[in-house]
């Protein structure tokens, strides 16, 4: 402020021109005393006739006011400035002008609903039927959409491969959709290009191919069951007869197809009917965790495990198994056998059953096991089932077919149908041919639709190296992965929830893959890429898929189409049953020094959680503990206790595993029940270009997987490197320490004493108390978990994670014992380390009626609800962790860091369930029995003026469970399923002896061993065998 400024009110507000200011001011008649304002004011007011005035100066016609009126700018503004000043003001003005750009928005009119869309109610999710595929085979899903945002996948009850259940892969599909590392743009040599540029390039290449009838054109896909995609490819092959279509699935089913060829002369698909089988024999077939129909198979299998007093109707499962899996863990009798010896076992059994020539006994097969198996199979002809695993050679499949034929199972417990694959082929042979063609320069254009062959192809084919010889390489892929890096064109692949498609289930039932959201990025589906090769390059996938079904759906297409979308299945599309007859036992092909070869056997398996590597960047699946080893974020070279002792290996030792002239460095994991002199490696890990979660996790087992030993490698050696690699295991101790935790008995135990589960430990009698019991006139929520049903598949764990916004914490935090899963599946061993008994026990919050956690919380952040829920109030929690210390079940999870944002890229925020609070740092959390679902159903029931019906509320875990092991409901209703299960004599409470009165109860497992092999269920574990590595 300059000093010559008047003391009177400033005229800055009036500086803007106004009518009064611009009005000419008459010259004063006489100069009055400028300080006599009052008099002047009166005079001026009188002269002007009440015209408004702005300041006393105006009234006084003070010189300041005069000058202000006549000057262009007010005093002290920019006048008479020099160059430097000008620049100063200019720059300030520009800076301010820039600021306005921050708030100024282009005019875009938004319009509110005039009529609200019929189905969309804010806050209410909608469910759409669609289908997820794995290895080409579809599982029907109902996906929850929250205001257009897919948030949760559930099984489709109408779909034959789901029946309402879902597996970990289906649940985790949502994480893939929002994967922050997904490829977002179309790239040409790592540079962003528009779709039109690709279209142009591919059209040129295609036109060039026309001359040679497509001799240089190859299309490489994963296993295709999609009728539309197959029709598109067939169309291209018709236009280019010399072109070739190759399918490659690293965890493919070549063996099963070849086995069917061997047995029947045609590649029929085997449909096992576990619900009809009394005796099941698995020849290294882990049908509960992998296989095209594992959800349905687990459901069918579990339906025959539901224990009824007397054991009536209960099946008996024999598992001859190499790598311990869920199937072996659930088996009544498990025989650990090297993968290479399974064929010999099959022949031995066939000889015993009279289905083949007698062979010499195998030392590792106990005669008692064999004779029990033979008697059971013979005793249940037409009601038994023999199944071979996809990792076993074709001969074993043919043996299984021969045995099923000999036992009269074909047509009863086993059906043979046309395969769901659009074109069953010997994938490995075709891939080898492709590589040879590439090497010879015969391939000019290679379109790779999905998959990651540069990473997954057998090491000896050197696919990645030969790929460079192809002129035009285009790769459609969700990530810019190892293969994309080697191709000129990378096309981001639309997620199945973003694009229209169709697919068939293992039994041939077709589903429309319905998108729930427009592609988040510039994703394209395989249909659109193939469309680019056709005459109509701009057709949408929607039109292409509809065209496929226009014929089959008949006259009323629109109605039938809507029906198919709604139901998630296309009716009557299941593959027809084929009448085939087995040609008997396959001829024995003598292998050069087969199992007699020195050295170890290497068994290749897809990883139980990240499969063939496609889920490597899926944080949920990476952190999901593998069913038996409970490892996360890593794979390992898994050896038996005996082999580890012989080779002096310890857990986490890094070894150099060499087979067939290739070697890889891998950490060791010791697993009881693994056959001796055999190493299991899971492929899929060791990715280098998968994204933030998958890069650098584990080792690449593909590096030693060659085309002549795709599943079983022989003559391997192991040498210690002296280094160690830390592994993150969520259960360090798989020994019950003689405690009565996961209770189990044999059928005979139950017959002797139906209360066998309570023989050792009992709940205390309620003590006299001064306080009356809490009145229970409302719902009493409870859960029953049948340990007999649970197959340990992990679907519930990840369903819980998806439903309840449970964060991923990373390997380091898992190693520190800070994983956040609200529901875990405890796994225990019992008996002999060479062939132990397994116990699975899913452990959610017990919602104790006398909850120890509630007593000790100083701020009442965990309290009991009137309905018996142990509620956690996140915003009240101050994080003393006392509740967790006092929880005997250790189901409480603490946010040691701000986990909810740790890996939360913006895209992952879309994944959150809006009905569940996202927890902050320093807050305790735990299973809520999905209280948001309970309240949702209660509100609905209250509107209708009724009680919640039994089965109306399912928790996320119970809904996902393929084995129907988890039942949730109202204990106050004596007719509810959970109440009925509570009355079962097998029901017990975990640690009930503490007097916590858990609301979650278990039903003791019952096994059904052959009477001659019956051994008591054991929970003891040799002390000499140190199972745990103390990590952290």
């Amino acid at each position: 402020m300059s000093s010559d400024r008047p003391l009177l009110p400033a005229y800055a507000p009036a500086a803007a021109p106004s009518p009064a200011a611009s009005a000419p001011v008459p010259a004063p008649a006489a100069e009055p005393d400028p300080l006599d304002f009052l008099a002047l004011a009166r005079r001026r007011t009188a002269e002007r006739g009440g015209e408004p005035w702005r300041s006393l100066e105006e009234l006084a016609e003070a010189p300041e006011f005069e000058s202000m009126i006549h000057r262009e700018f007010p005093e002290n503004t920019v006048e008479g400035i020099d160059r430097r000043e000008l620049f100063k003001y200019m720059s300030a003005s520009f800076a301010l002008a820039g600021l306005t750009a921050c708030t100024r928005q282009p005019t875009e009119k938004i319009v509110p609903y005039v009529r609200q869309p019929e189905e969309i109610v804010p806050g209410k999710p909608l469910f759409y039927a669609t289908a997820a595929t794995l290895g080409g085979y579809a599982t029907g899903l109902l996906v929850e959409s929250q205001q257009g945002r897919p948030t949760k996948a559930e099984g489709n009850p109408l779909h034959p491969a789901s029946l309402g259940a879902s597996d970990a892969f289906c649940q985790a599909a949502l994480y893939d959709l929002y994967d922050p590392d997904r490829s977002k743009t179309l790239l040409y040599l790592e540079e962003i290009r528009p779709w039109a540029a690709f279209l142009g390039a591919i059209r040129v290449a295609i036109e060039a191919e026309r001359i040679g009838r497509g001799a240089g054109l190859r299309i490489l896909t994963e296993t295709v069951t999609s009728p539309t995609l197959a029709a598109q490819i067939q169309g291209i092959l018709r236009a280019f007869p010399a072109a070739k279509w190759i399918q490659w699935e690293p965890a493919g089913r070549d063996n099963a197809r070849a086995g069917a060829m061997l047995a029947f002369g045609e590649p029929v698909e085997t449909i096992p009917r576990f619900d009809r089988a009394d005796v099941v024999l698995c020849l290294d077939a882990d049908f509960l965790s992998c296989g095209p129909g594992q959800l349905r198979w687990a459901r069918d299998f579990a339906s025959r495990r539901r224990f009824r007093p007397g054991g009536a109707g209960m099946n008996r499962l024999y598992a001859v198994e190499s790598t311990p899996g869920n199937t072996g863990a659930k088996a009544d009798h498990r025989l650990p056998l090297r993968a290479g010896d399974v064929e010999g076992f099959g022949r031995l059994l066939a000889g015993e059953l009279g289905a083949g020539a007698k062979t010499a006994p195998i030392p590792s097969v106990p005669p008692a096991f064999l004779s029990a198996l033979v008697s059971d199979l013979q005793g249940s002809r037409g009601r038994s089932l023999v199944l071979a695993g996809d990792g076993q050679p074709p001969a074993v499949h043919a043996i299984a077919h021969a045995l099923n034929a000999a036992l009269g199972n074909a047509g009863n417990t086993v059906a043979y149908v046309s395969p769901a694959d659009a074109q069953p082929s010997d994938q490995l042979a075709l891939l080898r041919e492709l590589v040879n063609d590439m090497d010879a320069g015969r391939v000019r254009t290679l379109i790779i639709l999905g998959g990651n062959p540069a990473f997954t192809a057998p090491a000896d084919l050197r696919f990645a190296e030969k790929l460079g010889k192809v002129d035009l390489r285009a790769h459609l892929s969700p990530h810019q992965d190892e293969t994309s890096r080697l191709c000129q064109w990378h096309i981001p692949q639309a997620h199945f929830l973003e694009a229209w498609s169709d697919a068939r289930a293992y039994d041939g039932t077709a589903s429309i893959v319905q998108p729930l959201i427009a592609p988040l990025y510039a994703g394209r589906s395989a249909h659109e890429v193939l469309g680019a090769l056709s005459d109509q390059p701009e057709r949408s996938a929607y039109e292409i898929v509809r065209d496929t079904w226009r014929g089959p759906l008949g006259a009323h297409f629109e109605a039938a189409w809507r029906r198919a979308l709604h139901d998630g299945i296309l009716p009557d599309t299941a593959s027809p049953v084929r009448a085939v007859t087995s040609r008997g036992m396959p001829p024995e092909i003598p292998r050069a020094g087969a199992s007699a070869a020195p050295g170890l056997e290497v068994i290749f398996r897809p990883d139980p959680m990240i499969w063939d590597g496609r889920f490597a960047n899926n944080g949920w699946l990476q952190e999901l503990p593998k069913p038996l080893t409970k490892l996360t974020w890593d794979n390992a070279a898994i050896v038996s206790v005996g082999t580890a002792a012989r080779l002096k290996l310890a857990k986490e030792d890094v070894v150099r595993l060499s087979v067939g002239g290739r070697s890889v460095q891998a950490p060791v994991w010791i697993e009881p029940g693994h056959p001796d002199d055999s190493v299991t490696v899971h492929f899929g890990y060791g990715r280098t270009r998968s994204g933030r979660f998958g890069n650098g996790a584990g080792f690449n087992a593909y590096a030693i997987r060659s085309s002549d030993a795709l599943w079983i490698g022989r003559g391997a050696t192991i040498e210690k490197t002296g280094a160690t690699h830390p592994l993150a295991c969520t259960q360090l101790h798989q020994n019950m320490e003689g405690r009565d935790l996961a209770r189990a008995g044999n059928v005979s135990d139950f017959q002797a004493d139906p209360n066998f589960a309570h023989r050792r430990t009992k709940a205390p009698e309620p003590e006299e108390s001064m306080y009356p019991e809490y009145p229970s006139d409302t719902y009493a929520w409870g859960m029953a978990i049948d340990l007999n049903q649970c197959v340990g598949c992990n679907a519930c764990v990840i369903a819980c994670q998806s439903e309840n916004n449970i964060p991923v914490v990373g390997k380091d935090q898992v190693r520190r014992g800070r994983e956040m899963h609200w529901l875990r599946i405890d796994h225990y061993y019992g008996g002999e380390p060479a062939n132990p008994q397994h116990y699975f026990q899913p452990v959610p919050c017990m919602h104790c009626e006398k909850a120890p956690c509630e007593l000790v919380c100083p701020v009442a952040a965990t309290v009991h609800s009137a309905e018996g829920l142990n509620d956690m109030i996140y915003n009240r929690c101050v994080g003393t962790r006392y509740c967790s210390n006092n929880c005997p079940y250790k189901v409480r999870r603490f946010n040691f860091y701000h986990y909810s944002t740790q890996f939360r890229a913006p895209s992952l925020k879309m994944l959150t369930n809006p009905d569940v609070t996202v927890r902050w740092r320093g807050v305790m959390e735990k299973c809520t029995y999905c209280v948001q679902r309970i309240n949702g159903s209660k509100i609905a029931s209250e509107i209708e003026g009724r009680r919640v019906r039994d089965g109306e509320i399912t928790t996320a875990c119970a809904q996902a469970c393929p084995a129907d092991a988890i039942v949730f409901g109202d204990l106050a209703d004596p007719k509810s399923r959970v109440s009925q299960l509570r009355r079962d004599p097998r029901t017990y409470g975990l640690l009930e002896e503490l007097g916590t009165r858990p609301r979650t109860t278990y039903l003791a497992g019952v096994r059904n061993p052959h009477p001659s092999l019956s051994s008591p269920m054991r929970t003891d574990w040799p002390q000499s065998y140190a199972n745990e590595t103390e990590q952290g």
Binding site: E737, V859, G879, N886, P888, E1030
Partner: protein, 462 residues
């Protein structure tokens, strides 16, 4: 200062060692204690000691800053071991504080006049230990900025603390204890502050001490009121010695966790606290009397008496361990028995056996008079007991939690760098406060010492 040059009384002397060296007069007592505070020259060892302590305290600040920034994840805690160093350190520091209150209150009531020369700095030690301890329950919370939710204050949520939780009892026990200890210490300081006020040469000192002395003039009325107040506070503080650590032990006993759920804990914790506290008093008084040449005031008699208390409480603590092990077997509860054997044979067995060595075996040396009357040896024993008492809390907290009911959830716990820096940082805080205290306040009660010199007795007789 001729009094400084006196020879210490030789050990093994037939007559009982006096509680004050013969030859002291009112004036010599006042001079010698007062000059430590009032002398202009700060000794070099003080600068060195304070410098190191201050650096450690800065490490504490850095650790707390990082903790608030990142969260408790920087520590080694996990599920199942939800409590780690923070609670161990809390119990350890609270225990150390106990000796101060015991010496000043209980020994006062029991008219143990030898307490006079050690009570002042033992009380100061109590305060600083409680200050160090008090940090941990707040810092160990996931959301420490909400610590006030443990207090019953009127709020819009209409919520009070959950009174059944021992953590709420802790808040009251510890805050009461801290308040009473501070009052007790300050009231005991008033006559000495007046002495310092009167003897200080610098104006600033005169003003500060003058304000703190609250106008003490040493009149008979003042002395009368002082004696009444001091005795009342002693009476108030006495039950606190028992109650605070009893309540702290409830943090464990109320839980159903095996290894915690035990009725032996309250007495065993109190004995352990006194044990730890006397070990700390010895640890501090032995170097101090040497450095400030206070052997005349803190005589071998004091050291011997403290050594005897150390031995006695050590035996009680040993009995506690024995009963704990016995109950592990006698209860017949598998998880209790397992925790007991796991402590001895499990992965934390080195901590357990080190604890037995430190807390049970080492103090047995105190049966020998030679050890009791050799300050160097006593210092070593006291240091070992300090370590042992920390290990005891480690064993109680960690081994009970790391393997409780469900083997599936068993885990391991290790302190991280931040755990250690926080712990060592509180030692820095404690020592910094202690160094400031010995520099600016009389570490031995001047007026009480004066009652011990022969002049005082003569006057009474006269």
């Amino acid at each position: 200062m001729s009094t400084q040059k006196r020879e210490p009384t030789p050990p093994g002397q037939a007559t009982p060692v006096p509680v004050i060296e013969p030859g002291h007069t009112f004036a010599s007592v006042t001079d010698q204690i007062g000059q430590i505070v009032l002398s202009r020259r700060t000794p070099t060892f003080w600068w060195v000691g304070f410098g190191i302590s201050f650096l450690l305290m800065m490490a504490l600040l850095a650790s707390i800053g990082y903790l608030l920034l990142k969260g408790t994840g920087i520590w080694g805690i996990n599920i199942p071991v939800g409590w780690g160093f923070a609670i161990i350190n809390f119990v350890w520091w609270i225990g150390i504080g106990h000796a101060g209150t015991l010496i000043s209150a209980i020994l006062l009531l029991l008219r143990q006049e030898w307490r006079t020369s050690i009570n002042r700095f033992a009380e100061a030690m109590t305060l600083f230990a409680v200050a160090s301890a008090g940090l941990f329950p707040i810092l160990h919370m996931g959301r420490p900025w909400l610590a006030y939710w443990l207090l019953p204050y009127p709020n819009t949520m209409a919520l009070w603390p959950q009174w059944r939780s021992p953590l709420v009892w802790d808040v009251f026990a510890v805050s009461t204890y801290a308040t009473v200890s501070a009052l007790f210490w300050y009231i005991g300081l008033i006559p000495d502050l007046a002495t310092l006020r009167d003897r200080a040469r610098k104006k600033s000192f005169q003003i500060v001490y003058g304000m703190l002395a609250l106008g003490w003039r040493g009149s008979a009325v003042h002395w009368h009121r002082y004696e009444t107040a001091y005795l009342l506070l002693a009476g108030l503080a006495t039950p606190l010695v028992i109650s605070v650590h009893t309540v702290v032990s409830f943090d464990f006993t109320i839980a159903i966790t095996p290894g915690w759920h035990s009725t032996i804990f309250p007495p065993y914790f109190v004995a352990g606290a006194i044990y730890a506290g006397f070990a700390m008093v010895l640890t501090l008084s032995i170097p101090l009397r040497k450095l400030y040449r206070l052997e005349g005031f803190i005589t071998l008699r004091h050291l011997q008496n403290m050594a005897k208390i150390l031995l006695a409480t050590g035996l009680i603590v040993g009995y506690g361990y024995m009963i704990e092990a016995f109950m592990g077997w006698y209860s017949g509860v598998p998880s209790e028995g397992y925790v007991t054997t796991s402590r001895m044979l499990g992965p934390y067995r080195p901590a357990y056996w080190a604890l037995i060595f430190c807390n049970i075996l080492t103090p047995q040396a105190l049966w020998f008079k030679k050890v009791r009357s050799t300050p160097g040896l006593l210092f070593i024993v006291a240091m070992v007991v300090n370590v042992g008492m920390w290990l005891e809390r480690f064993v109680i907290v960690v081994t009970s939690l790391h393997r409780d009911f469900l083997p599936s959830s068993w885990g391991m716990y290790h302190g991280t760098m931040w755990d250690w820096s926080t712990f060592i940082g509180t030692i820095g805080l404690f020592l910094s406060l202690l160094f400031l205290f010995i520099r600016f306040l009389p570490m031995i009660s001047i007026f009480e010492m004066r009652t011990l010199v022969p002049e005082a007795e003569v006057r009474e007789e006269a």
